[in-house]
């Protein structure tokens, strides 16, 4: 894959209406560094999503007319595109969700009858709330237990740490490929291999990784993999649950209704549709699926690995410039991702975030939905995250604003 360079990025930037239409924020150059929260969307994704409303509106698996058929074909094609994007063996292993959060919940809720009192679920403290609370709830409802494996000094989960808490009662291992606060990377292959060897289910939260590295579920060897469209340049309100066929068969569909049943009877009995339709009760986000499929093509054309390498380069550029500035502390200097997490001594993260806002820079401050991560101070952290449209100016604008610092009240008075 061709590495990205300044020239290519400049061209990519022209494809993003948010960048074309918002040259300024707070009177300063608009500098969007919150891609880890949600990515901006390129024209092609917006057009693909819009095309459903403009030219092929119809409900899926219901119509006898041409448009209904076309909607079916396009929706199924979107599923196939997603399957190819993550290297799934079959489109039947892909079900659409509203996002990563719903995908993880679909698994946790779906395992309600499978999990038994006393069973254990292993995760870690660097996970997003969306990969902890579904397990907390499952554990509470079923008398099971969530066990946190230790993180290493970089905030990563290692197979050794998992091994230390693995017991005969362990049933599930759930972790992120890339964590959202520190951008630490977990060796998903090794962790899933361990899970397989132990005979337990593995779930990979790929929300932060699908847009910045090639994902191959067969090579990772996971049972489930979840992600959102909106963090990979796709629309909001659409996400994906991938599951190996045998793993998906364990799940009870948490939502029932139209489209997911094969037959039902006055007696109260019903039979389920085949995979993956049984997980898609009710009319689905058809436009979103079309947008997401286009986002997969967008990322593939540029190359997820090339995007990741570019983001790392910008992160290191900004890091090198801010490290050593008085009071500035980078919490994840070596995490190999486009996420730069830092604090400024004596400045609560939110106030730093507002100061940066006043300089045109969008970052995220606070606890980032990871409220039990030991490395994060109570006053929060500031996270800047790069994307495929981020350029050198963005890294420099950020670094300059951090280094220059200034009175945080300048945001209100200057």
């Amino acid at each position: 894959m061709k590495p990205l360079d300044d020239e290519r990025i400049a061209r990519i930037r022209t494809e993003f209406p948010m960048l074309r239409k918002n040259p300024l924020m707070q009177g300063k150059r608009f500098c969007y560094l919150d891609t880890a929260a949600t990515a901006l969307k390129p024209d092609c994704v917006i057009a693909a999503q819009d095309s459903y409303y403009q030219t092929w509106t119809a409900n899926t698996h219901r119509g006898d007319y041409d448009l209904g058929h076309e909607a079916d074909v396009r929706y199924q094609r979107a599923r196939q595109t997603v399957a190819d994007f993550i290297g799934a063996a079959s489109a039947d292993e892909i079900s659409f969700t509203s996002g990563c959060t719903e995908a993880i919940n679909r698994v946790a809720q779906g395992l309600f009858s499978w999990i038994q009192p006393g069973d254990e679920i292993i995760t870690d403290r660097a996970e997003h709330a969306s990969n902890i609370l579904p397990w907390f709830r499952l554990a509470r409802l079923r008398g099971a237990k969530v066990v946190f494996a230790d993180l290493d000094e970089r905030g990563s989960l290692t197979p050794e740490a998992v091994r230390r808490v693995l017991t005969p009662k362990t049933k599930i291992l759930a972790f992120a490929r890339i964590t959202n606060v520190l951008g630490s990377v977990n060796d998903a292959r090794a962790l899933c291999a361990l899970a397989r060897e132990a005979g337990i289910l593995s779930l990979v939260d790929a929300a932060q990784s699908v847009a910045c590295e090639t994902t191959r579920v067969e090579e990772i060897g996971c049972d489930f993999l979840c992600f959102s469209g909106h963090k990979m340049y796709g629309p909001t309100g659409i996400g994906v649950l991938y599951g190996r066929r045998q793993a998906l068969e364990l799940l009870d569909p948490p939502t029932v209704g139209g489209g997911m049943n094969a037959r039902f009877y006055p007696s109260g009995d019903y039979t389920l549709e085949d995979l993956p339709l049984r997980f898609e009760a009710g009319t689905q986000n058809i436009a979103g699926a079309a947008g997401l499929a286009q986002a997969c093509r967008f990322v593939e054309e540029i190359g997820a690995d090339a995007i990741g390498a570019w983001e790392r380069q910008l992160k290191q550029l900004a890091r090198a410039r801010i490290e050593g500035a008085p009071g500035v502390r980078v919490l994840n200097p070596d995490s190999p991702t486009g996420i730069l997490t830092f604090i400024v001594d004596g400045v609560p993260a939110q106030d730093e975030g507002t100061l940066l806002n006043s300089k045109g820079i969008c970052v995220r401050s606070g606890l980032h939905c990871a409220k039990i991560l030991p490395l994060v101070p109570k006053t929060g952290t500031v996270r800047a995250s790069f994307g495929v449209y981020s350029d050198r100016h963005d890294a420099e604008q950020l670094a300059e604003a951090i280094v220059k610092g200034g009175d945080i009240l300048d945001a209100y008075f200057a």
Binding site: Q350, D351, T354, G366, K378, T379, L409, F413
Partner: protein, 144 residues
């Protein structure tokens, strides 16, 4: 006093209250109290209020972790409400919110709180400037 405040004075009021906040102590058990936190930010405070026989605020305090704006605004709010009734505090809060949202307001009852007149320039921070007041009002509603 407040109308003539210049920007330097406003900054100083905010920084003074941030660096040495008023009434920052753990609410006592017998106080009306409210825990205020938010999913989206670091603010996590507990506000306590004690009423006198006439239902006016006899004592008000707070404790917790929060940012510069919420620390200073909560410090000022806990001072401002002392001796006031729920109605008076609601009226005062109405003026305060109007100020934050750039609407017309009466600065007279706001005292040092007028230092936050510019906070609306950073709309995402209006929640910080009001967290203390919202906590106090929620205590008072519990006391009704």
């Amino acid at each position: 006093m407040p109308i003539s405040l210049d920007q330097q004075m406003m900054r100083e009021i905010i920084m003074d209250h941030y660096e040495s906040p008023e009434n920052r102590r753990q609410p006592e058990r017998d106080m009306l109290s409210a825990h205020m936190d938010s999913a989206s930010c670091i603010d996590d405070i507990t506000v306590g209020v004690r009423l006198d026989e006439q239902g006016r605020v006899a004592d008000c305090c707070w404790e917790g972790t929060c940012c510069v704006i919420s620390t200073a605004a909560t410090s000022i709010a806990t001072e401002l409400v002392k001796g006031k009734s729920l109605d008076q505090i609601e009226a005062l809060y109405g003026d305060y919110c109007a100020m934050l949202q750039g609407r017309e307001y009466d600065p007279a009852p706001l005292g040092e709180a007028v230092a936050f007149a510019n906070t609306g320039r950073q709309p995402s921070r209006i929640g910080c400037a009001t967290i203390g007041f919202r906590g106090i009002l929620s205590c008072l509603k519990k006391g009704e």
